[in-house]
Amino acid sequence: MSGNGYAERAADIVQQALASGATDAECTIGEGEEFSANVRLRELETLKEAGSRGAGLRILKGRHTGSAYTSDLSREGIRHMVRSAIELAEITTEDPHAGLPDAADLGSIPGDLGMYCADVAGLPTELKIDMARRAEDAALRADARIANSEGASFDTRVGRHAFANSRGFAGEYRASYCSLSTVPVAREGESMERDYWSTTARGFAGLENPEDVGRIAAQRAVRRLGARKVETQMVPVVFEPRTARSLVDNIFDAVHGGAIYRNESFLAGKLGARVASEKLTVIDDGTIPGLFGTSPYDDEGVPTRRTVVIENGVLRSYLLNTYTARKLGLRTTGNASRGLAGNAGVGNGNLYIERGGATPEQLIAGIREGFYVTELIGFGVNIVTGDYSRGAAGMWIRNGELAFPVAEVTIAGTLQQMLTTLQAVGSDLEFRGSMAAPTLVVAEMKIAGR
């Protein structure tokens, strides 16, 4: 663990906290540099470039917790942060479950996890602008109906993350990220529609071709033109990978340790029970090299791992940090997550639905009348009850083919039903973020429209 010595600085801050009266402490230091170039209608529109850093501290005095953060890493800034955290432990309540992970749970995965690619930091500005320009240009050229654009952007981030605690853990890692996206606007008559496409990777070399990004974005925008509202009815619903990913997010919220111990998830108390169709297997794996949810240890210093969450429809594990595990009488799954301040929450590693055998085309071909959902909007998911109702847009399926665009409708049901009536899982799993899913087919949902 080498670098700028941030792990040592974090360990120093932990020692300062102990010297000031804390019985336990953990400290996070983060540093990042961001760059962003936006191009619109082939002209450079914005350039943004900067860096920042900050430190966060959580302390325990017995079973009382306090936390503080600062962007001022000077000696005085750190002293103030330590004092602030200790002051707050006076006002919190004694919590028998509060505390750092057991020493036996601490550790870090060895080896290179491919989180940092050196090619990101040194990219010339002109090249980055040109990537955005190429993606947008490809979108503008792809179809005469692409009449306008919200532009294209190329973004990079390079960061360093250090963590130390008073049980002897100290670690540090670097991460890099770059992405290219474009948002073309299509127009035909009175109809105006936009869509987007993007490519994301840990390193520049991992990005897809800008021309492909532009072309796909344009195709997606154009096929939405002339979208109509359909009649209210029950039909099979097909989620393309981009929208299927949001169901993984819903599953995450439902297996989140905090929601489980508070009994505010429809999956609370269901360990070992069948909660989904046997076609559904959900895995969380924070150890896959190069992916976006990968890290050597979680935000409490516990090694990340592979956790089977749902196996052939049976709920096998919740996702837990140390606190939620203790509340439930279980062991942490290495899923602690936090910003600079506050207690650790629960976060996912790479959370995904295992691929099935059929291609999306095969899945669609088997449906006489149905709805292929390419966009979901709104927040109409209630994890407590499982009630699901969201705004949707996409394509109507007729006789096994994508027939016409649909918009201004909702799809509704319950997550319980959606999981148990999951009919098919596609073979098209791709990781475009820390959550991923292939095409999914749900037997029946209520479409509300005309």
Binding site: S52, V384, R390, K446, R450
Partner: protein, 461 residues
């Protein structure tokens, strides 16, 4: 002051036409209670400066969390490079404008003792549990911050502001005999001092609302699906305006011609009963600001007047490029973010109908007094907002509660179906957070009871 002028000159050294500096010092604190245990308490500070340079349609931006002169000058040089050429602005001289104070908070809650603030969440927890024996889980959180900003622009504007903010949230879960739990939410606050929670909107007020909503939902039946008449209750349901019209009227989208409202100024976009205002000057409100994040005083802007589209919300860049007057709507999340046109407090003026008469006029429909969040696709104009508490209207009477459902409509069309507007305008209690292009800012909404003759309700029945 001389230093600021020099930084601006540095920012314009490559030929930029306009530059500004945004200095921010933010202190925050938060307290959380869960299972009647105060489990978390946190405080912190962050500070920094953002430097922006505009050259034609181009923007260069850089920021620093180190306020030493060398680092600020470095950020200015980075931002300056958006332009290429000799400096064109000769000299910058700053003048402090007149001041007003819409939130004369003497002691910001952030500066008070924690012992007073921790009582707020404890009281909320006790009150929600005491509301009904079926309440079995309560979480409450209290957060406040104090943002001190200084904006200096090459137009000569020098503004500073001290912006306090508070918010108290309560969530309660209810259950009968181990059955399916239901959740209720409430919260509020604003640019106020602690007295607001002690005298005006107490923790007990929010706790009772959250608990009541959870209890009501225990009897909820399936929500209807399809087009029907929808009656929105007063207050927070004003989120309809925020999603249906507000975002679509932000000048950046319209300058680029990508909003469903582009080119529609002067056209009928709502029923003549609708007048929609965005007003950043209401005292102590969550969305209010003395000056926007570009240093301009906020204003009361008429967006829609008697159904006719009147104007867009401008930021500096859009008003420079289109020649439109400033509206005081340039906002940013922090010093690390580029300003954009944003809403402040968005509401519809009261009409003449008695709210009870509005309900009585509906043979079959949905009554929605509380909502969760919403979202809009500004290009197609399609928007959603999700009911958190709603009831069937049967034969002119509010009857059974229904499960959460999303409502969907199209921005330039939806408000044309407004057929009655109540005389009971209410602003929300101060919980709104608006997200746009990754930046979150606090906002307010408000609406009287209104009747919309046709809207799609996304239930299951």
């Amino acid at each position: 002051m001389r230093d600021l002028e020099n930084y601006l000159a540095e920012a314009l050294s490559h030929g930029g036409a306009y530059a500004d500096l945004y200095f921010e010092y933010l202190s925050t604190s938060s307290i959380g209670i869960d299972e009647s245990i105060v489990k978390s308490a946190s405080q912190g500070v962050s500070l920094g400066v953002g430097v922006r340079v505009i050259a034609g349609e181009r923007t260069g931006y850089a920021y620093s969390d180190d306020l030493s002169p060398e680092k600020i000058r470095k950020a200015a040089r980075v931002a300056a490079c958006i332009a290429a050429g000799p400096a064109t602005v000769e000299k910058v001289s700053l003048n402090e404008g007149g001041r007003r104070n819409l939130y004369p908070v003497l002691t910001a809650p952030t500066e008070t003792a924690f012992t007073e603030r921790v009582e707020l969440v404890k009281r909320a927890d006790r009150a929600a549990r005491a509301y009904d024996p079926r309440i079995f889980q309560v979480q409450a959180s209290y957060a406040d911050n104090l943002r001190q900003v200084l904006v200096a622009t090459s137009d000569g504007v020098l503004s500073w502001d001290r912006q306090p903010m508070t918010r108290l949230n309560v969530a309660a879960l209810a259950r009968v005999n181990g059955g399916t739990p239901q959740r209720g939410h409430a919260g509020g606050g604003g640019r106020v001092d602690l007295g607001f929670f002690l005298n005006e909107k107490t923790p007990e007020h929010f706790a009772a609302q959250a608990a009541r909503e959870a209890i009501v939902m225990l009897d909820a039946v399936e929500a209807p699906a399809g087009e029907m008449t929808v009656v929105l209750g007063p207050g927070w349901p004003g989120i309809l305006l925020h999603e249906a019209v507000g975002h679509g009227l932000e000048a950046d989208f319209n300058r680029k011609g990508v909003s469903a409202f582009s080119g529609r100024i002067g056209q009928q976009v709502a029923s003549p009963l609708c007048t929609v205002i965005d007003d950043g000057t209401i005292a102590n409100r969550r969305g209010s600001l003395n000056v926007d994040d570009e240093g301009h005083p906020t204003r009361r802007n008429v967006l829609i007047e008697n159904g006719i589209l009147r104007g867009y919300l401008q930021d500096k860049l859009s008003s420079r490029l289109t020649g439109a007057a400033e509206t005081g709507s340039g906002r940013r999340e922090s010093y690390a973010h580029i300003p954009m046109p944003r809403m402040t407090n968005t509401f519809m003026l009261a009409g003449e109908s008695d709210p009870e008469e509005i309900i009585r006029s509906v043979p079959r429909g949905l009554y929605c007094p509380d909502f969760g969040g919403g979202q809009v696709d500004i290009t197609s104009g399609n928007f959603v907002f999700s009911a958190a508490e709603s009831y069937l209207i049967e034969d002119g009477r509010v009857t059974r509660p229904v499960r959460n459902a999303t409502l969907i409509g199209n921005g330039p069309e939806a408000l044309k179906y407004v057929s009655m507007v109540g005389n009971d305008l209410k602003l929300d209690e101060g919980i709104g957070v608006c997200g746009k292009e990754g930046q979150s800012v606090p906002v307010g909404v408000g609406i009287p009871t209104i009747k919309i003759d046709r809207m799609t309700v996304g239930g299951t029945a």
